[in-house]
Symmetry: D2
Subunit: 137 residues, 4 copies
């Protein structure tokens, strides 16, 4: 089951066309990823140890516009774990009818500020990600 985050569309989310702006969706997705890391329980330790989740690619489909007052549900889950990078899949749905508004693959590495490099996804780090994979979309 995916992790769920809810956001209601407000006036300041919209743009020229009265639709949620493209860039704003990336804030919605980031909000949902922080929320997943909290739910999974290791966010504080992670940040304290100088590790950062560095996004290296976002591939996002905008399927239909979201409008003022829409209640959006964001599903977030780990999709795949490689040797050095992993992929989170996120879907933005209209909560009322389940229609998909936007859908994205977010590829990230775990960056260690002390060593100034991306870490291999193995050992305890891989286990943590695998626990998060329970939240698949």
């Amino acid at each position: 089951m995916a992790h769920h985050t809810r956001i209601k569309v407000r006036g300041y989310h919209l743009d020229l066309f009265g639709h949620v702006n493209n860039a704003r969706y990336l804030e919605f997705l980031e909000e949902a990823r922080w929320s997943l890391f909290e739910a999974q329980g290791n966010l504080d330790n992670f940040l304290k140890s100088g590790l950062a989740l560095a996004v290296v690619n976002i591939n996002i489909d905008y399927r239909q516009p979201a409008l003022m007052g829409d209640e959006l549900l964001i599903e977030t889950g780990v999709k795949s774990i490689g040797n050095r990078s992993a992929v989170i899949h996120q879907r933005v749905l209209q909560e009322a009818n389940g229609k998909v508004v936007a859908e994205a693959d977010v590829t990230f590495v775990i960056f260690d500020a002390k060593q100034n490099k991306a870490l291999a996804l193995e050992g305890a780090l891989k286990e943590q990600l695998e626990q998060m994979a329970a939240y698949a979309v």
Copy 2:
């Protein structure tokens, strides 16, 4: 030759890690696309006729972080034109040394608000896009 837009990184562009935030790059790219449409000369007529460029996919690679004070150069050009959608390619470079900070393909359709549908990219509309393809990256 690509169309050029310049943006200097300011304090409000950064996030937790002191890097330009992922979502902010999409505003930088939108800024550069509006600038291209102006340079190409048909933006006003386009908007007045009720047409909108609706983005359907953004695929963006984040290659290295941009920091406070960095002078960024955004190259924007039309990469390919299909029957119903077209692709703009955009690169964000460090102006000082040409290093690529981020790179994106932005796929869009031309949406006609009156007809409530995406238009076929043919005739005068296709010609306009072909003129913009002179700005290839």
Copy 3:
């Protein structure tokens, strides 16, 4: 009693100094005002009738920085109602200890798009605002 809205500080809310950015607080305050109008129950009718709440002044004190992970409570209430404008008072607090992070007076008029002018705050319109004044800070 004031209307309450909760926001958790995330990485994308911060700026160069690791603090919530000045501009972002205005989005937090707007979020809280929409939430109050919903709670009060007349938002939909209001927007459908072509009326807009147009902000004419914001006077905001930034008292202490808010940091990553902080749980903020935003109190929102109507402070005073004049002939043509009214004032909403909003306070942003650390939920954990009640310390004030920021505090603002937001002065607005009710703008009627059809008549292209600000309305006198009288009759049914004034009554609605007076109901909202139950949510004083």
Copy 4:
């Protein structure tokens, strides 16, 4: 004479009502303040020495809406210097006709991260601010 910064209104600056959003103006003003500090020439030294300009109050009048494509001119200058705080005045104008769109007083202190306190505005620090006061609005 005030320091000048120019910003063109784009689709992503707008909100529900097709106007530049309240919060976005604070980003425009921050952009203009960074630009003034650069023009005055001491920004780099300032930041390297661990000093930060911490905004403690913004009092902004929104006089008339700015719309898609508007070319805005932002005038920025130091208005007054006190013992512990100083005030920058900023005006956002329509470049075409000089009409005032928004106008703000921004009160700030100089915060020293090492000492964890706001500095007295005296000596070399005061001289720098006085030089900036040449850019009065």
